[in-house]
């Protein structure tokens, strides 16, 4: 059913979105500011991008962040998918309540608590803090998000498709890889992207769990923001925003095109029964 858009609805959505995007737009604009002052426009310039290329500390931090995010998102996706399967498919096993509690709690747990408790764990078991402890911490947080995303897909999954595979002689383990995984792939990919973003974005947990030598980009940005902003940060943010925008728009065009093709095919099918 089509719904009518009243002026009230249009206004509230427009204002809401403007509120969400205003700061982002400003960051992009001021990354091209010639002036060193963040809020005064001193003419167009790309000099901050050039100086960014010479700022090794910032680039190193970006590289560390990227590696942490790639590794932790991948591990979190595997663990989170397993956990989602456990929650949806294993019925009531012993300790299920505790398990689902441990999945949902990290979603709302304040970062300072998660960060502090993980740090104390690493100290207690005597792991040297650094790159890998950040990865471990991020996996723990992100896997819960992956679980929630994959779980909602598994709940609506038509089990008879798996049963059909079993019925046709495909053993359960193989069925998972041949039938189930391809069908829940969009949710798994979405979970990976969410995990990746969480890791890229995290300041608090990384600050607690890091050690000498592993500085992530958010940590670097945070320390610079506290000292006084350099416009280079605007530039690096603009690059990140650009990458994300291109990626998201690309993905949505791709899915839109597939959707159009599918609809056309369905009309075709309806035409010759």
């Amino acid at each position: 059913m089509e719904r009518r858009a009243s002026w009230f609805n249009v206004t509230s959505v427009t204002l809401g979105l403007a509120f969400l995007y205003l700061p982002i737009v400003l960051v992009v604009i001021f990354s091209f500011n010639a002036s060193r002052l963040v809020t005064v426009w001193g003419g167009f310039s790309t000099k901050w991008y050039a100086s960014l290329l010479e700022n090794d500390a910032l680039l190193d931090a970006a590289w560390v962040t990227l590696r942490v995010a790639l590794i932790s998102a991948t591990v979190a996706t595997v663990l989170g998918t397993l956990a989602a399967i456990a929650l949806v498919r294993y019925g009531s096993f012993r300790g299920r309540t505790l398990f689902s509690g441990m999945i949902y709690a990290p979603l709302v747990m304040p970062d300072v608590i998660t960060g502090l408790s993980l740090l104390l764990l690493f100290v207690a078991v005597g792991i040297d803090r650094g790159f890998w402890t950040i990865v471990l911490a991020h996996v723990t947080l992100a896997m819960c998000y992956v679980t929630v995303v994959v779980q909602s897909r598994l709940i609506t999954f038509d089990r008879s498709v798996e049963e059909a595979a079993l019925d046709l002689g495909c053993p359960p383990f193989k069925t998972f890889f041949v039938v189930t995984l391809p069908l829940i792939a969009p949710a798994v990919v979405a979970g990976w992207m969410l995990a990746f973003t969480l890791s890229l974005d995290d300041l608090v947990i990384a600050s607690f769990t890091t050690g000498p030598g592993a500085t992530t980009l958010p940590m670097k940005i945070y320390s610079q923001v506290r000292l006084g902003v350099t416009p280079e940060i605007n530039a690096i943010c603009t690059i990140l925003i650009g990458l994300v925008t291109v990626g998201v728009i690309g993905a949505s065009i791709f899915t839109k095109r597939r959707e159009v093709e599918r609809q056309r095919a369905e009309r075709l099918a309806a035409a010759n029964p």
């Binding site: 719904r3 509230s12 959505v13 960051v27 663990l79 949902y104 747990m109 994300v244």
Partner: protein
Amino acid sequence: MTAAADTAPPAARQRSHPLAWLVVAIPYAWLAFFFLVPFFIVLKISFSTSAIAQPPYTPIIDIFGGLGSIFSALREFTTDNYVFLTEDSLYWRSYLQSLEIAAISTFLTLLVGYPMAYGMARASRAWRPMLVMLVILPFWTSFLIRVYAWIGILKKEGLLNQFLLWIGVIHEPLTILNTNLAVYIGIVYSYLPFMVLPLYAALEKMDDTLLEAAQDLGCPPIQAFWKVTFPLSLPGVVAGCFLVFIPVTGEFVIPDLLGGTDTVMIGKTLWNEFFSNRDWPLASAVAVVLLLLLVVPIVVFQNQERKQQERES
């Protein structure tokens, strides 16, 4: 729990692969070790005494030293940290102000988010996925950067003041940055998607004919909203409020960057205790008390989520 057992198709339970238990065991073990165990360590350290050492607390329980050494360590446990929390007004003020700021900003986020989610749910079918995408998109850009952008907007010579001076509403620049107002703006801004998305999910699946039925039965539109739409969207309201309230209570970045010296939120206090004062036992005690404050909302939130999942399956 029994409901879940009934709905779980029997095929899964029936003849399982010899390694099928690993599906539960691996994530379970991971979370138990990296999520559950750390809480007990926090609890334990909150009863320890700060020391100039590495790690900076004592006693250190030596698990391999036998029962005797554990008992002697237990005798050294102290509740001093908790006593200190009640004595120093900084801590209980932090807790109170955190709860107050979280409650007010949750309400503000709901006020801003509801009309937005409502408008999105009323948009044409073709527009809706696009609007959802637009709400999610800012998530993908760094949280820290978005908060930092607000510094440029809110400060004395910032854009907001320039704009207000230009249109002539004010003649003197307002002090917004480093006040609680800036913290509220930052929180509403950062947590808006967490409120809008569950609200949208609840409003979007609402059946339009319900409103038509209400109007057909003589209920004017505004009243129909309060009697039909709003009650039906309550699960979304509750979910959204929890998703905002709980993490905001322990928020660190926003009060740190946007708040002033009199904005004492517990996340910031904990951070300072840990990084500046290096008092790990006291930081742990702060965390334990914060967790106790949040345990009720967290448990309610979990139950809500689980019921929601079971309804859908």
